[in-house]
Symmetry: C2
């Protein structure tokens, strides 16, 4: 079994990063449905390091302003929800629940470089699952990685000790982007068949 053409269009082919948003809310129930999909995606040893902070209220979204570059302020602050895709650098403390393999926690706790790389790689993968799961639920997504991560951590993540990775604004696009999709690399430019 595979996805039909409409499904491939929804996730990849006709999906575009929106330039603006309809005035339509995203419910907490939708955010819970979204996480319930995202958490099922595979991570290394089921380490599941990603953490998601959903900024829904006007006040909390406004607190992002100073961390954004000028060109992104309007697009991000007008979205009904912006997600801080973060990760827990101490993700290995949850391995007792997530993975029964003995010694795995100690292996990460003893090697901070390995732990950081694992958290960044797998937290980013989970952020990719979030992007496509949101599209699967009919949402449009605007990912942003050009922002002041330290400011976001100070404002929103200090209590948890989580690290900010990137932002994803969620909502319903107010129409197709004016410009056609930017070019992509061809198979022969980006792939080798060995």
């Amino acid at each position: 079994m595979s996805l039909d053409e409409a499904g491939l269009d929804l996730l990849f082919r006709t999906a575009r990063t929106p330039q603006g948003w309809r005035d339509a809310p995203v419910s907490d129930d939708t955010l819970r449905q979204l996480y319930d999909l995202v958490r099922l995606g595979p991570t290394s040893g089921n380490c599941s390091p990603a953490r998601f902070v959903f900024l829904r209220t006007q006040d909390n979204r406004e607190r992002l302003r100073s961390a954004l570059s000028d060109g992104n302020v309007d697009k991000v602050l007008s979205a009904p929800v912006t997600v801080i895709v973060a990760h827990d650098p101490l993700f290995f403390d949850r391995l007792g629940v997530l993975n029964p393999e003995p010694g795995l926690r100690a292996w990460f706790a003893a090697d901070v470089g390995l732990a950081e790389e694992t958290a960044f790689r797998n937290g980013t993968l989970q952020g990719g699952y979030l992007i496509l799961a949101a599209r699967a639920l009919g949402l449009d997504v605007l990912p942003i990685s050009g922002f002041d991560a330290y400011a976001v951590e100070d404002s929103f993540l200090a209590g948890q000790g989580w690290r900010a990775n990137f932002l994803v604004s969620l909502g319903y696009a107010d129409g197709p982007p004016a410009l056609p999709r930017a070019p992509r690399l061809t198979f022969d430019e980006a792939c080798l068949l060995l």
Copy 2:
């Protein structure tokens, strides 16, 4: 519009990492279809740093053996295709085609730390798109990040100068895994609603 239940099952809910493979090939045409989906997923400034090396022949797959941990050798080498998800550290040299914004290439070329982080984050996102796009095409996927990346770079990527990020074996599972899916973190453990 959103994906129907069968589509959500295919991508997330019933999808599992296989423990073994059916003796069924994956065609080059399927790999090209796969890349044609993956390349459409969003990256920061359309930087598109991921590069994909598809190991299809028995000889080339066998060259992975010494880079794999003992527990992964059989699972990976018996897959019909294993993809090296890599990235090009000089991805910014392609920005003239990918993104017309002037000065973007120079901005990355002047800051190797920013370039490395951007390549790793966005190359990993594209690897996440590969995992879900493969499932969308009916393939099963086995991602592996515990392997000797330097050995893989020496064996397969030296000519291109690409960096190895993780591996994804592709094929058709020989049946459902014997064990139930490992637990995941609840919404309240991994998410904040602000």
